[in-house]
């Protein structure tokens, strides 16, 4: 609901009408307006509903693993340019494999090295997708 209101407010500031026909905020205002009405209806429906099914379904099981994966992904995004693709992927993959517990440490390191190097060769060298080299730039 708050998002819908924010969309409506920003759209009004963009101006709803131009000289001929609708302005840049016209569509946003319409979208935000309908979104607000639907969200309000859903909010009221849930508020007065005795059913608690939706809440029960939304239990976050195994949340620690998901939170760990999310932190690793944020780390990847933050350090991609600085560390470079190969090193960044190696670190993230090693830790992702480590989450699985059943793998031995040398298998984790070995497979992470192979996959990070292999994917760099496949995508950057063979397919020409420019992936950042970061601190390993001198090897280029």
């Amino acid at each position: 609901m708050l998002l819908a209101l924010a969309i409506c407010y920003s759209s009004i500031r963009l101006s709803l009408y131009a000289r001929r026909g609708p302005g840049p905020g016209f569509m946003g205002f319409g979208t935000g307006g309908v979104l607000f009405l639907l969200s309000l209806h859903l909010f009221l429906k849930n508020l007065f509903s005795s059913k608690r099914e939706a809440i029960e379904k939304a239990v976050f099981r195994n949340w620690k693993v998901n939170a760990g994966v999310l932190c690793l992904l944020i780390f990847y995004a933050l350090f991609l340019e600085k560390l470079g693709f190969v090193l960044d992927v190696f670190i993230v993959l090693s830790l992702l494999f480590a989450i699985s517990k059943n793998m031995k440490w040398y298998v984790i390191i070995g497979s992470s090295v192979l996959i990070s190097l292999g994917s760099y060769i496949l995508f950057s060298v063979l397919l020409g997708i420019g992936l950042p080299t970061g601190v390993l730039n001198f090897l280029k």
Partner: protein, 500 residues
């Protein structure tokens, strides 16, 4: 038409295209077999690989993944009782029961052969319908396009598997996301918060990879399937005469129904397979057998979901309107390669259109040859634990998000949409309407603004032109018909309250 088809075969039979068609159907079958990874996510993951290819090669491979997944999905349903793909959910009901009765072979056989017949039927349908439909679409102006997109969006919402209201919210969010960036008419910055990376709008790839790739991973990590019992003993793959007799009409009905539902926005393989199962059960002389190993319950839905894949291509290639997430991905794949899907596609890029059609004929033959002999290998893939698969899926998402524009901002965006996709699933919002809203939002806004400019701001233009009025009227009818049960329920409640 025959000349064009020959052109298509000459394009498709080029070694590189033939190879990519094979790769596409092979990957499609594999991800169809593996539970937890659908064709949408796979196409998004492999999107960066196609950037260096020609548009024809790219679309041939990506389309192969789509229809290949429908073949592969049945294997897991029949042998493991876990649908490898959403469209194969109903195949579990009778397919697994047949497998328990020692009839896994005929179930797999009829699924593959029925899929082949239906797949071929749908390609013929696509070929016949595409040219007249695109000629008709050339007569469409902005009001007609606006009406058509409104109807398409309404159908997507109407056919939502969960709540219609939540699907509508999801679609509206998609439309809102499509507006982010610099407005092409007035050059005003819209919802960019001054961030330079958002001036060109949100990129399609991080959005889809986040919602479908990463979102699925987060969800699957919650409930890893630790132990699955696979039926590995498969014999007599070819169905006998009685099986054919029982399955022939379900295959015919499934092929027609699947194709028609595939053409509809929001339809596609999932809905077709459920609808086919329902119809087969209703017309059967022995409905009590359904759920206990009736071969009709495998043949009909499997034919329907394969036929729907061909049907889905009709609106994309002739009207430029994607009807489901996979088509939305193919739409953006074509756009990235400089090919605009729509009424002019067949004229401007005959090699792309007819090459794709021919590749679907060849791909279907490849699939039927691949599927049956390779079943023991597919079964082995089922034993790969998810804890090994998920880091690789994440890696593909990370590379894909970065590759399109070379911005680490897009990686962050993909992670953001991954979390959104996960939360949406948790709170029972479908991500598919969001993607369709995002794709169609641009065209919707453009056609709305152009129509209003044409009519000097008069909204009646949409109702003065018969085609757009018909589209909008039908959309309105659908929305009203959906709220009638709700209103009836309310009235009954009010009556009860008054009595007490």
């Amino acid at each position: 038409m025959w000349e064009s088809l020959i052109l298509g075969f000459s394009v498709c039979l080029q070694p590189i295209n033939l190879f990519l068609c094979f790769v596409g159907v092979l990957i499609g079958t594999l991800i169809g077999v593996l539970p937890g990874l659908g064709p949408g996510a796979t196409i998004a993951l492999l999107f960066p690989v196609t950037l260096g290819m020609s548009p024809t090669s790219a679309i041939i491979m990506l389309a192969g993944i789509f229809y290949g997944a429908q073949y592969g999905g049945s294997t897991t349903s029949i042998l493991v009782n876990i649908p490898g793909e959403a469209a194969s959910v109903v195949t579990c009901l009778d397919g697994y029961q047949m497998a328990l009765q020692g009839r896994a072979g005929p179930a797999l056989g009829i699924a593959a052969l029925g899929s082949f017949i239906a797949g071929t039927f749908s390609v013929i349908g696509l070929m016949i319908l595409a040219v007249p439909l695109s000629t008709l679409a050339l007569k469409f102006g902005p009001p007609e396009y606006f009406g058509l997109i409104c109807l398409g969006m309404t159908l997507v919402v109407y056919l939502a598997q969960k709540s219609v209201q939540k699907a509508l919210i999801s679609a509206l969010l998609g439309i809102f996301l499509s507006q982010i960036g610099i407005d092409q008419v007035s050059s005003a910055q819209r919802f960019t918060f001054g961030m330079g990376e958002l001036f060109d709008g949100i990129s399609m790839v991080p959005l889809i990879m986040g919602l479908f790739g990463l979102g699925e991973v987060f969800l699957s990590l919650e409930e890893e399937i630790s132990k699955i019992s696979v039926i590995t003993h498969v014999k007599n793959l070819l169905p006998n005469l009685k099986d054919w007799k029982d399955s022939s009409w379900p295959i015919v009905r499934g092929s027609i129904l699947g194709f028609l539902l595939g053409v509809l926005p929001g339809g596609g393989p999932v809905l077709s397979s459920f609808a086919s199962y329902g119809i087969e059960k209703r017309v059967s002389k022995r409905p009590e057998l359904f759920g206990h190993g009736a071969i009709e319950g495998v043949a009909g839905p499997e034919a329907a979901n394969n036929s729907a894949t061909g049907g889905s291509f009709v609106p994309l290639l002739t009207l430029g309107i994607p009807t489901n997430v996979v088509m939305a991905l193919l739409f953006s794949a074509l756009m990235v390669h400089g090919v605009q899907p729509g009424p002019l596609l067949i004229k401007q890029f005959p090699d792309v259109f007819w090459g794709l059609v021919a590749s679907m004929y060849i791909g279907n033959i490849m699939l039927v040859l691949l599927n049956l002999p390779l079943i023991p290998i597919w079964v082995r893939f089922l034993k790969i634990p998810y804890r090994i698969l998920f880091p690789l899926i994440i890696l593909f998402c990370l590379i894909g998000a970065y590759s399109e524009r070379g911005l680490s901002f897009d990686v962050s965006l993909m992670i953001f949409f991954g979390v959104i996709g996960y939360l949406m699933r948790k709170f029972e919002y479908e991500p598919a309407p969001l993607v369709l809203g995002f794709i169609l939002g641009d065209i919707l806004e453009e056609s709305l603004r152009r129509s209003l400019i044409m009519a000097d701001g008069n909204f009646l233009i949409f109702f003065k032109r018969p085609i757009s009025a018909a589209f909008l009227g039908f959309a309105l009818l659908l929305l009203i018909s959906n709220s009638i049960p709700f209103l009836k329920k309310r009235l009954k409640k009010l009556e009860k309250l008054e009595i007490t």
